[in-house]
Symmetry: D2
Subunit: 493 residues, 4 copies
């Protein structure tokens, strides 16, 4: 633990936001595969900036480059990309939700199996990983990381079947949880999505080459065509014979796509499961205005994630939309945290009030969600200090009252403001004149439903409802994670 | 030259934007001076991300840290700030307009004069620096950098007067050009602004300590109070006796503040020379709509700089405002440039069309300016590829037809699209259905004037009009810069 | 492969010398365990400079730091040592003989087993590692390195016994080869030496704490007391109950300590298996003079390894001893190799002739061994160019005619000069007036024997005789190593 | 000061040895000039390992690379050398004797003068540099370093003569002290040696190209031919017209070459002023045996510098010569200094006793000099702990009783053991049975003289006699150095 903590201090994130853990991208059969994967990962950077990795395969050897930090910082140099040879490559960007962020926990994870090499990139979270790990370790398997993903690799390695795809499908039948996987073998690319389809995975095509990636914006950046979403429970095998689709799971399982992908994670220009993210956010804003309208002078977004909701709100409410808060995008490393003397300056590093726009006004502040409430409190303070006469906060999601165990980095439930108090108390806590969250049904309406089907919910909304579609085996076990080794990899210079 | 080119590859900028060269920040008499300067520079990061530096003075010694890259990357660690001891410090962020970006050209520039140490941070450009440098070199002065700023230091060093402030004012009488200077001596802080007041410099106050900096947003970040703008031609001396204001220049000189600070450079939340930047941009947008309205379905900004203009346009034109183009803020280093195979992908690294918002629509695209036209061409391509039915581009500044010699990094005049062709040809070149720029008078109206006073222009608008208020000595000389040494500083590990 | 090659360019070694692969050092029960291990490794640096690593255990957690390069470069900083907490630690220095030198191949190797963590440091070579690896991989074990040592870890992990020491001894019964092992578990330290005792391992004691290390010079550096050599086939377990000695192998196995430890590997000040290395080398020099005296003016060593032999020779022959060749110890990285234009300068980087001592003289040149003959050829050239009248080379070991498979990095047999030609041809090849090697019996005499006991050789002298005491399973297999993955670990910044 | 102290922690030296400050190397007219300069500097590495630099000139531009650390570490890569283009280059290795070791104090020093660029490499010390600096600063010159060498550059810059060589000679007439200089201009190379010829400078030739360097061993490494020593007071100008020799000083000045070059600084294989260094050291050893013979069993050198003296002693005394102390050449960085817990281990990091050779013996220990006495004390302790019956120390130089001001890094006089006490007390202090230093006359005899000519000493022996041949202007001034700025250059990554 000790050693790498020194090297782990990069966290350029809002600590009061939920964090998506990962983005994945794979490309099969293209002469510049690694360069395209790097670009795809760059487009998926919002899904994880803690670490990035690419593994390519050149027909004989695998080539890997993984590092802590952003894609632009570590995969922008021609000599790095040039060494990732081959016509096939997969990549991964990560915000850690499982395992510490040290190099050995950076994906794609590579393993040298008896049948050949294997690289795997995973978005999601396996909910019985600890249980499986214990069983595998008892049998003699040695884990090199603390990532849940590694159990898949060991399940494949210890499977007695002959065919790789069979081994893989066998492994999938052992694991529970949310996963979108892209795997590189010496034969080709494999993609898979868990039976509920919690996390996204789309299929694209560029000059005859297939692509598997988390969001459509990663197709756009390289000019690739969107083909279709991979279905929940589908396994696709891409090799020199083209693409085969397998459906190894019973089809009766209900689709439960993560609604938070719309609320916050996905990029606004992505089309996710057929719905444009930007549009869905604007519609939530409009629903909010319909449900919780208020007499005001202008609508101000908390940038950047609050912008589409605020536009939708302003349009519906016929109020002016204005940038009353300016965000500084030059973040650098953790920056200020070690400097005691200026800790109190807090949120101003990233946000500043645009006083001229706010002074004397009744302001509707639109944000995407409230997690712990710390950022909101500081934002409201800023806005009031800039002279706003009234501050009405409208949140483009229902209250976040439950933790996610399917790949989103939520704090423990006890730290969620919506778990600690009701909406009115929350409004007082963050200091606004009024606070409202969109209703569950309103959110579903914005997605094009008539409301939530409580018998058979259309999406995974566990963070708002506590209705968890997949068993939380490890968590029911009474302990969150086994006493894994805390050994850290050393730095290499 | 050779060596440092290897290390110079950081240019995370639009190459089709004009670049502001610098931001300055000085603080006198505060126990955490360096930490506050670092924060101030962070708020000014938009004025220059190529390099940053801080020099502090602890009563006995000067301490300096300068590095290529951003403030957040290099001044965020407690141990760096901790070594910059003292109750007084100045800092600088830079986008190079004079001299190559190697460490020895990073400011603050320090010199050890007979009368004591001196550190200087400069925003602007000295237009007779080459001429002065030649004279000083003939006399035996040895320059350590290729920055124009260094002539000021040598003029001070070789001045026969006794008092430091007198030496400094004597030096100012030799130089021509645009400058806002912050100087740290062993006695205190000095600030100065050129007689035309081309570049901004404001005075702030925090807990009884004085601050001199480029923009008010740098005061906001540390919770400091805005006191006033430093006047054109004013010199302020801040030391243990407080603040003295000197006016060493004839007051008949006309104020000519750079209008581009409103158009693009300054942060929207700054108040510059009494005008809120965001408001001025919105008003330009409204003037544009008034002057060049068009039948359309929605108004889309080119993010981020086109946003306020687009909001103003949409409001005036009563059209929906929508994020039809999404910007990826994770830039990293130059990234893709070395990869030949993907060079054609170009602008998509930073921008992506939000297809759902654009398809089938008649779009008004609002941007702040057109320089070479390359970015605009690619943006229009993106928007058309996303299915826009019509694309009308509206530019929130007049055509940029002349180079700036006062501290803005403009390409040579011959590369400016507005120098090469008229507006209609430009529209065809970038592929829009219509193109319009705000008129000169419209721009002045948005700033609160009735129009441009052609006899006595209220601002420096040379880039639009060619009306240069300050002599361009070096450039009239027939050569842009002397045959300066191309020696590079070595790297230090 | 590609990526790490970039980072692998450190090879500050004579390519014409045999290389010892490793040194190991473990300390149990000392408050400054990691600092002492770092010092011990520093004293063992001659046994491997490519990489170094330390793993400590603090009673709860393991802490690891491994890096490419020397101990002094990477373990000299207080903050690194400070993070390697705990009263127990083991370390390793490495010159690779098995597996590429990338970080994942740097020892100590750590694994997180079901029964607890395990770190292992190994000196030697396992001769059936490839065979075992294939078996383990078929069973589902996933290897993280390409080191032979890792099979031991997997054998332990998959063993069905309960007690860790029993598992370990079980593993030892599967492996063949030469090994001196130091293992850190959560219970204590374990040391083991292969049944033939090919590689050295000694027991020391400091302030009541036990030490296990490769040579006595590593005890001297920290002021520790030498206790005894670990016996061939002995396993020692050191924990809070003290030290237990186990003898799990049949005692009938013959001891065969590596004679090359005396010839070249061990440090002259070490006492190895009861014999002082420096003395043994001097005695070989004296035997050489006795066997192959020659009329000459002076005796000159090839520094540094030829010095003791030359002193012994000169003393016996009653000839002056002189430093006729000067060695430059400032080596740095590979240095010159990439510069084509100066490749021909070759050996002069490290050695220069001391012309004044050599000119006009009949010189006896003493070196420890001849491997490929390239260095000797260049040295002789140097000496002749400096004006030596005659050059007689005397080698303090028999002709190296066979490869080592027990942990010494010998080239393939076909590259050994002594395999290609007889002594006279070798002399002509390297350009000397006469060449002689000590006889096998002479070498044994210098070690205190009456000669080699051909029925039951007293030491492992396979490199001179081809008499391999341990089965070479992997090599009989017909292939040197399996097609292991060539994936490299990425760099971490 | 603060910042760079962090980066300055490399001091892989005996702190109880005198340190030579510098080595210089220049080559004119060779296609691989920089590569050859790098090799030459590598051969001169013993003259300074704190920093190294090379400046090349390609006919148009100067190229510079300077860095802290060794030549092998920073100039071994093809891409660094490849960027140092041109047929002419100079280089410098440095152990700081004047100015802190920060990058701006690393030579060659470059300046961009009115008449063209100038790079300078200096071995020696200017004894009126502070006085000259004050005068130049008053006149307006701005210094960029704290090196004495920089005054030469400013003297050249401010000289009113036209011709560069005349300016340079004019500058030489202002400076006092010891200097061997190599200068690169756009016209060619210039070499100069002070009128007393205190520091060495030799002329070599390779393939028709001239070389100027500190020692002949730097010629040997590249296969260059030694031509002659540059004479005291000589200036040589090397350009496309060949080599011109100028003698700008009165020839009546007495030659006073530094005797310590023989005692310790120069490499044993160099021929300095006509005398082979190794031979001179052996002869001193023999003189020592003659002057201070003692009944003993063996002669042991303190490695490495005591070796030739010990060989000479043993030969004369007819005693066995043995390596009773083993030196570890793997030093790395400062290593152990920050670790409090092991500070007491002290000298063993570098030296270990070879117990087998010493136990029970009466030992003559030969070292080159005693400065503070700390190393000697520890060495004697080691030897006694290894069981030596008697320890007789013989020093191959007279007592070092005075500081050097001509380029050798001696401690203040008060710290010199020979200043504090007489020889007998010194012997007691370091714990030997007897201690003797060679006599002044004995030393001169070993150099081939009949003894010291006290009226007109043949060499500079001020450190032994206090007879300083050159005025110590700055030191007579009453202060060692002016209150120079303590600003440090920042690091560049």
């Amino acid at each position: 633990m000790a050693i790498d903590q020194v090297e782990m201090s990069t966290n350029p994130f809002d600590d009061d936001k939920l964090h998506e853990e990962c983005g994945v991208f794979g490309l099969y059969g293209h002469p510049d595969s690694a360069a395209h994967v790097a670009l795809g990962l760059h487009a998926l950077q919002h899904r994880g900036q803690e670490a990035a990795g690419i593994v390519s395969f050149d027909g004989t050897h695998f080539h890997s480059h993984r590092s802590l930090g952003s894609v632009g910082d570590h995969f922008s140099e021609a000599n790095v990309i040039g060494q990732l040879k081959g016509r096939s490559a997969i990549g991964h960007v990560r915000y850690s939700t499982s395992g510490e962020t040290v190099l050995r926990n950076v994906q794609p994870l590579f393993a040298d199996l008896a049948g050949g090499g294997l690289a795997i990139a995973h978005n999601g979270n396996i909910t019985n990983a600890t249980q499986l790990r214990r069983q595998l370790e008892k049998r003699g398997s040695i884990f090199q990381s603390t990532m849940d993903t590694e159990v898949i690799v060991h399940l494949i390695a210890t499977c007695s079947r002959q065919d790789f795809v069979e081994k893989f499908i066998d492994a999938l039948h052992h694991i529970l949880g949310a996963y979108s996987l892209v795997i590189q073998t010496h034969e080709g690319l494999i993609g898979a999505r868990d039976p509920h389809g919690v996390r996204p995975l789309v299929l694209g095509e560029l000059d005859g080459s297939y692509i598997l990636c988390s969001e459509t914006c990663a197709l756009d950046i390289i000019g690739a065509k969107f083909v279709r979403d991979i279905d929940p429970g589908e396994v696709v095998v891409i090799d020199e014979d083209g693409l085969r689709s397998l459906r190894p799971f019973r089809t009766s399982v209900q689709k439960r796509f993560c609604v938070f992908e719309y609320i916050y994670f996905s990029r606004p220009d992505s089309v996710v499961e057929g719905i444009n993210v930007y549009e869905s956010r604007k519609k939530i804003g409009a629903e909010l205005a319909k449900e919780y309208g208020v007499d005001a002078d202008l609508v101000v977004p908390v940038p950047d994630s609050g912008v589409p909701g605020a536009i939708g709100y302003a349009e519906y409410a016929n109020l002016p939309f204005d940038l009353g808060i300016i965000r500084n995008h030059y973040v650098g490393r953790t920056f200020i945290e070690p400097m005691d003397s200026i800790r109190h300056l807090g949120v101003r590093l990233k946000h500043n009030a645009n006083r001229a726009a706010l002074a004397g006004k009744r302001v509707v502040l639109v944000d995407d969600s409230i997690v712990r409430g710390t950022t909101s409190t500081k934002i409201v303070e800023l806005v009031r200090a800039a002279g706003a006469k009234e501050v009405h906060m409208r949140i483009a999601s229902p209250p976040t009252s439950h933790s996610c165990f399917y790949g989103v980095d939520t704090p423990e439930r006890s730290q969620l403001l919506a778990y600690q108090m009701d909406t009115q108390a929350m409004g007082e806590y963050i200091g606004v004149d009024s606070l409202a969250f969109i209703s569950i049904d309103g959110m579903y309406r914005a997605m094009g439903f008539v409301g939530r089907d409580n018998d058979s919910p259309q999406m995974c909304d566990a963070c708002f409802t506590g209705d968890y579609p997949i068993a939380l085996t490890d968590h029911l076990d009474g302990e969150e994670s086994a006493q894994l080794s805390l050994l850290d990899e050393a730095s290499e210079k």
